[in-house]
C-alpha cells in the first residue's frame, strides 16, 4: 500500500503571485489613460458634419459644450422627434442656454473666464433655425467665441 502514499515534495510549486498587483495596476493605468471621459450621456442623435478646414479645440477646461439634435429613439416617445438642445444631462429650451452658459462660466477659474469657447456639437440634420437661436442667446450673454465641432473629413460626406 505504500505505493499510493501521497508524496509530500513532488508537487508543482505555487506560482508566485507577487507581480499580480503590478499587472492589475498596469491595466488600470492603461484604461485610465485611454478612455475618453464623457461627462454627458447623450440623449440625442449626434452625427457631426464633416469639415476639413478645422482647428483643434485644446484644453478641455476652457470649453462649454452645447449639444443639439433629434432625441434618440428611446426618448422619442417623451420628447418627440424635433431637434432639441441638450445641456449637461437634460433637454433644454433655447431660453435656458444663456443661464447655462453663465453658470458654466461662473464655475470656471477666474483667469479662464475670458477665454472660454462654446463648442456647438450639433447633429448634421438639424435646421439652422435652432442654431441661429442658440447663437442669439450666446450673443446676449457675450459668449462670442464659438466652435462648430465637426468630424474631420471631406464636405462631400455631408450628403
Amino acid at each position: 500500500m505504500s505505493k499510493f502514499k501521497k508524496k509530500g515534495s513532488g508537487e508543482i510549486p505555487k506560482i508566485s503571485t507577487a507581480s499580480l498587483p503590478d499587472i492589475v495596476f498596469m491595466l488600470l493605468f492603461f484604461f485610465m489613460v485611454a478612455t475618453v471621459l464623457r461627462d454627458n450621456t447623450l440623449m440625442i442623435k449626434n452625427t457631426l458634419p464633416a469639415a476639413d478646414q478645422v482647428q483643434k479645440l485644446d484644453k478641455k477646461d476652457r470649453v462649454i459644450y452645447i449639444y443639439a439634435g433629434k432625441p434618440s429613439a428611446r426618448y422619442q416617445d417623451k420628447y418627440g422627434n424635433q431637434p432639441r438642445i441638450q445641456l449637461n444631462d437634460k433637454f433644454a429650451t433655447v431660453s435656458d442656454v444663456g443661464a447655462y452658459v453663465l453658470a458654466e462660466r461662473a464655475s470656471k477659474r477666474e483667469e479662464l473666464q475670458n477665454v472660454l469657447t462654446t463648442a456647438l456639437k450639433v447633429d448634421g440634420e438639424t435646421k439652422m433655425g435652432l442654431i441661429s437661436d442658440i447663437k442669439q442667446e450666446l450673443r446676449k450673454v457675450n459668449a462670442l467665441k464659438i466652435n462648430y465641432t465637426t468630424r474631420i473629413g471631406d464636405y462631400t460626406q455631408n450628403n
Binding site: 495596476f25 489613460v33 469639415a51
Partner: protein
C-alpha cells in the same frame, strides 16, 4: 520517487516588465481631442451705424431653405464655391492707394478692391440644414486658407511649411516658446494680408 520539484520562477522582474508596458502605452495612446471651425460672433450691442460698403466689395452667399447655394444671386454648386471665393478675395481691382500688390487675381474693376476691403456675407435660412451650412463655411474658410498658404510660402520659404501647418504648430502646446513668438509674428503678417471678413447675417424667416 526521486522527482525533483521545479525551481520557483523568479518574479522579481515582473514589476519591471509591467512598468515597461505601462510606459509604452502611456506614450503611444493619445486622448482624442475635438476639432472644429472656430468663429466669432458679433457683439450684441453694437452701434447701429453700418458702414457704407460698395457692392463690388461684398461677396454674397445665400443658402436657401432647399439647401441650394446662391452666390451673387446665381445658383452654384458647392464644389465651385472655393474657387469663386478665391477669385473674389484675390481680385485686387483697387487703384492707387487701394491697390493690392500681392494679389494675383484678374484685377477686375467690378469685383473687390483689395482683400482688406473684401467681405464675404453668408446668409442662411432657418430651414437650411446644418451640414450644408457647415460645408459652405468650410469651403469659405478653405478659400482664405488657400490664399494665406500661398502668401506664407512666398514670404517665408525658409519655414518649409504653409500657413495652416504653421498655425497648427503655433497652437500646439508642445512647441517651444521662442519658435511660437517667431511664428506669431509671421502669422500676423499673413492674417493682415488676407483678413478673414466673414459676416453672417441673421437668418430670414421662412414665410
Amino acid at each position: 520517487m526521486g522527482r525533483r520539484s521545479a525551481p520557483e520562477v523568479n518574479a522579481g522582474s515582473m514589476a519591471d516588465i509591467a512598468f515597461l508596458l505601462l510606459i509604452f502605452f502611456l506614450v503611444t495612446t493619445t486622448i482624442e481631442t475635438d476639432s472644429g471651425i472656430n468663429r466669432k460672433l458679433p457683439p450684441m450691442d453694437e452701434i447701429i451705424d453700418p458702414p457704407i460698403i460698395k457692392e463690388r466689395n461684398i461677396f454674397t452667399v445665400v443658402v436657401n431653405k432647399n439647401n441650394q447655394i446662391l452666390v451673387e444671386e446665381k445658383l452654384m454648386d458647392l464644389r465651385n464655391i472655393r474657387s469663386e471665393a478665391v477669385a473674389f478675395l484675390d481680385n485686387g481691382g483697387g487703384l492707387a492707394d487701394e491697390a493690392c500688390d500681392y494679389c494675383q487675381g484678374s484685377r477686375n474693376r467690378s469685383s473687390s478692391d483689395n482683400p482688406d476691403k473684401a467681405i464675404i456675407s453668408l446668409k442662411n435660412d432657418r430651414e437650411t440644414d446644418y451640414k450644408v451650412y457647415i460645408s459652405v463655411q468650410n469651403e469659405l474658410v478653405a478659400a482664405y486658407n488657400e490664399l494665406r498658404n500661398r502668401e506664407f510660402i512666398r514670404l517665408y520659404p525658409s519655414e518649409n511649411m504653409d500657413y495652416v501647418q504653421a498655425d497648427k504648430k503655433y497652437t500646439d502646446p508642445r512647441t517651444d516658446k521662442k519658435v511660437k513668438e517667431k511664428l506669431k509674428e509671421k502669422l500676423g503678417v499673413i492674417k493682415l494680408m488676407y483678413p478673414m471678413k466673414l459676416s453672417e447675417a441673421e437668418p430670414n424667416k421662412t414665410s
